[in-house]
Amino acid sequence: MHRSLHIEPNLCTGCLQCELACSFEHEGEFNPARSRIRVFEFEHGKTSVPYTCTQCVEAWCLKACPTGAIYVDSDLGAKLVSAQACVGCKACTTACPFGTIEFNPFSGKVDKCDLCNGDPQCVTACPTDAITYLDAGATGVGRMQAFAEQNAKGVSS
């Protein structure tokens, strides 16, 4: 089953454990600047929103890459970067409308979310389930259920 990361900002407290886990997994150290997932805060912290690559089916980054360094892991549905083939031209960073593929000045390559081989560390680290790893075809079910519950109670929000 294809899974994708599902983010529920209402549950996010802005703790940044996801950024810590991601950087640790990929770089071996705690360094949010190198995390592939980032949390953004709005209105003095009223809302915190983690954001990362949504693993587009027709990926801009993949199409923009002149060396074919970006490829698909068909099991995961993840778009991965081959460090060997990547020349650091950054065309992908321009192409991605979401900004979720980023140039790494230390390695000279680009980094992006790779779903951690099917065991996303941000999901494990999140203390509130603001990030979950769900059936890619049913990520909306949680919200539908919440609204259905409201209706069942006869209360509209």
Binding site: T13, G28, A33, G45
Partner: protein, 605 residues
Amino acid sequence: MSWQGKVLRVNLTRGDVTPEPLNMEWANDYIGERGLGTKYLWENMDPKVDAMSPDNVLIFATGPLTGTNASTSGRYAVLTKGPLTGAIACSNSGGKFGAELKYAGYDLLIVEGSSEKPVYLLIEGDEISLQSAEKVWGKTVWETDEWIKKQHHNPMLKIATIGVAGERGVRYAAIVNDLHRAAGRSGVGAVMGSKNLKAVAVRGTCGVQVKDPKRFMQVTNEMKNLLAEDVGGLTKYGTNAMMDTMQEFGGLPTRNFQEVQFSGYDKVDARAMLKTDETGHRNLLTNKACFGCTIACGRIAHIHKDHFTIQNRKEYWHASGGLEYETAFAFGPVIGVDDIDACTFAGYLMNEHGMDPISFGVTLAAAMELFEMGVITTDDTDGVPLNFGNAEALTVMSEKTGKQEGFGQVLGLGSRLMCQKYGHPELSMTVKGQEFAGYDSRALQGMGLGYATGNRGACHLKHDTFEVDMDDQSGEGKADPCKASQDWTAAVDSSGLCMFTMGAWGAPEFAAQLDAGCEGEWTAERLLESGERIWNLERMFNLAAGLTCADDTLPERLLNDPAPSGTAKGRVNELDKMLPEYYSLRGWSEQGEPTSETLTRLGLG
């Protein structure tokens, strides 16, 4: 490993910045943050200097675990000589600033001297500079945060800044980071202002590494699970969950500590924050975490748009930091106010202008008592009647003090100087010049001992006798738990982690995390010993600054006027019985000075 091994020394007089290696010998003996900062302060300044002079040193200190994935790893401390107290100041804060300083590659930032013109320190990776602050001098904390990020096109900067209160030397001015977290007490913001340093803005891109990555991950995950089982009401209700407990217990300081219970408590407590009114408005919006924290005790709230405070002031219609216990106590019971929107607005102003809500509220309480006694009148107070319970007095004076206008300039002195000025020093509810937090010493005896002997003045966070104080309202057997918890808390405050984990984690749990992360062997015993060393070094600083055992005392009101109600009704604080036992347990003389034996044992002799 864990420590970055580097300190940044900034000399504002000369205008230069110099990285230097971290003294690892000191790190081994004092850990980091509070302990290490104290050692650096001790070695870098004369405790006798005036706190507002260029000779005072200001240190921002992270702990070895700051910036790791241990839960609550966002803590850092600001250390200096406090203008409010003339004693050592060690003010702890959360948010994101501390972790960012680690990612910039520094364990400590040491600021010396003072700048001729207002500046801010900018750290972007390895690019460090002192920038002119002329465009932001006079601006609020929130304006400054926004301006600096825009100016450098860097929304990732984390900024610790002062407001006008700090610029103008309000004795309890705070340093606010990430908009609504603060190094709040003892006037550390005023020291920053005296140095013409408006802000420190940091963006770091190097990582924090740990000694044994695999073990570290295992241990921190284990500890997170333990913590999740033991957060009490912190996540759901925040610290303000304590207000109704304090009310029922009878230790809730009311109307400048004249009483210990407040009938309006349920209008400003945690439950009130969760009530939805007829218009559909609810004070609390959500909870919020500091960096790395899986508890998330922070509150995000908003004020009712029709409330008199912000009715025509759209700029305050946004959400921001909500009431914590201390803010609620300082803007509620201690001044007799029961208007949650007024209290929340005053809280906003504290963050916006950079002030300590505890000291402000208790200072205002003293002013209200002076007013009700007729010692000061509306002629003195810009026409504002300072009666207990007057919510408008709270919000108007919060703003005046933040901007240093009118009577706000008197309030900005703190209650000790203000009450002296008006000839009633006994109305200042302080120890060593610092105002009490929301726990009355007649009801919580060990707390009273902790207040009296605390190295930074009246502080509720440097010891933990809550359990024994609740179970036994007498002063019996309080000296030992007070001393032991003071030492233990000093170690916790030096680790980079938050003391709100202390319910779930003891010394073994902290040691396990430090041992997996830091070079060297870290055991529970070593932590406790370090804590005792740190406590004694702080004491030595104060003795060198000129404080004596005469300063280890409580106001007359708490020693002589019995608690009028509650479970401790009829009691006064039994400091005279507890203090001698405390000194003896500490290995100090009857004059409260560490004996040479004690100093040698701790490696301080």
